[in-house]
Symmetry: C2
């Protein structure tokens, strides 16, 4: 579905805020006391038309976008226009979603559970792999090596909860010229990718000319979600798994793993990367810590 | 339940084997081709008494133990004696479990889903947090600083899929003298912890004098699982989250985060650690890569 053909409809969204870090006391190996920051982790119970759907454990930085992206990526709601409102209330750790026409076959759709490798959003309702069979990403998309380096350097210098408190995953959406569009962190990286899917949905943004970056591993579920969003390029600081690689080859996604400094490993969709060997003669981008 | 009081009953288990790594071709930033190993990731669909329960995405190193531990940690089967057989067949990516008396209230037990922060086993059936309220770990358990260092060094030198292929989490069970009892890796760390729970179940092994190590983050679900196994000490190379820390304090678990070389941060259950400052005068243990 070409979402740019949709009128720019926007559901009624809350703008719920919560503290994203929490201080705890620690003793180190010499018994020295200190106070450290750790990321928040809180339940968000999703009610759709007053029916309890799922409880997501989340950092809480983008709960409205997370809820929308969860409904989108789980294929529970087909169009943003079907969403009337998304109202998060942290006083009860809940989000109330009102839809125009409800969730089709919700019983059947939620019956089959796949517990995945992914961090965060471990549960995917049935049929995702079937859907993969129908996805084929744009062959003509290209990404230059200089944009890969711009993206890696942008992530390296990005202010983040990770730098304050650790123990979160970050996901980011970039244009194919390396412009940062969205950056979301969560205790589970699948929440972060879903929140980005929710933001893209709100803006009617297509994936075909975008680049997705994750700090997490490129497991099957991450690759499937990138493919669902129509994004041809998936970059990670980390590595991949056999099914992540297999799905990327099936849908024609370019996978770049171990992206750090000037290094990367191009594992699938190799024809889409435009190598620029002259870049490697420049002084190297400092490696992230 | 004191499992050492049970007679040593053993269900009929298959001993299914599968390749744990897979080779793929890669191009690096200079366009140089190489072949790298990545971890296997495969579905394992669990059938209990011919009823499809869940599909776990797994490395495949310990499928029988994973299945047992999943049934145990999800509280779907209360006793190992209720399990007649666990037969894995990789030719169909399935495991057939036969129980003596079935899963009680399976409809109701599988109805409520919590999608957690954890890698791997994202889905936890209802009631875990209620159960946490009932858990209180042994106050008298102690762990010495020298044993912490022995554990960290044992993990550092352990042969692993991680060293071959990356992108897996490792979990290990140690005695309180630092003897390695079990080491399991999986693409999701919750599979690794469940596999260890399954091995403990088979042996009727109690957790109260054990130490659990994970390479992954100490999120709420990891702490809950450690508490369910009755293990008072949870060590990680990584950090923790607010709910992981909160649950550890609630059940009285000692959390040691950022364990690397001679460094650690003791974040909860601080009274249980026996500091040995003299150890820090010794030459430091080399840090892991």
């Amino acid at each position: 579905m070409n979402q740019q053909d949709l009128p720019r409809y926007r559901p009624l969204l809350s703008d719920a805020r919560a503290h994203l870090t929490h201080e705890v006391s620690a003793l180190d190996e010499r018994g020295r006391a200190s106070t450290i920051s750790i990321p928040a982790e809180r339940p968000l119970t999703v009610y759709v038309d007053k029916r309890e759907l799922v409880t997501l454990m989340t950092l809480g930085g983008a709960p409205e976008a997370l809820t929308l992206g969860y409904l989108r990526n789980q294929r529970l709601v087909r169009s943003i226009e079907d969403v009337v409102s998304v109202q998060v209330d942290w006083s009860v750790d809940a989000v109330a979603v009102v839809t125009r026409s409800g969730i089709a076959d919700v019983e059947e759709r939620t019956a089959k559970k796949v517990v995945t490798t992914g961090c965060g959003q471990g549960s995917v309702f049935g049929g995702l792999m079937d859907e993969v069979e129908t996805i084929s990403l744009d062959d003509s998309a290209r990404l230059t090596q200089s944009v890969v380096y711009r993206i890696v350097d942008t992530i390296r210098t990005q202010q983040s909860i990770y730098k304050q408190a650790g123990s979160v995953h970050g996901c980011a959406l970039f244009s194919n010229t390396g412009e940062l569009l969205y950056f979301v962190e969560d205790v589970g990286r699948h929440n972060a990718v879903d929140a980005i899917a929710g933001l893209m949905w709100l803006e009617g943004m297509r994936g075909e000319d975008k680049v997705f970056y994750t700090t997490g591993r490129l497991t099957s579920e991450m690759v499937i979600k990138g493919a669902q969003m129509g994004i041809p390029f998936l970059l990670s600081r980390s590595g991949t798994t056999q099914m992540g690689h297999m799905v990327a080859e099936k849908v024609g996604m370019s996978l770049l793993a171990r992206c750090t400094g000037k290094h990367f490993l191009l594992l699938a969709g190799q024809e889409r990367l435009v190598f620029e060997p002259e870049l490697l003669e420049l002084p190297p981008v400092p490696r992230s810590a």
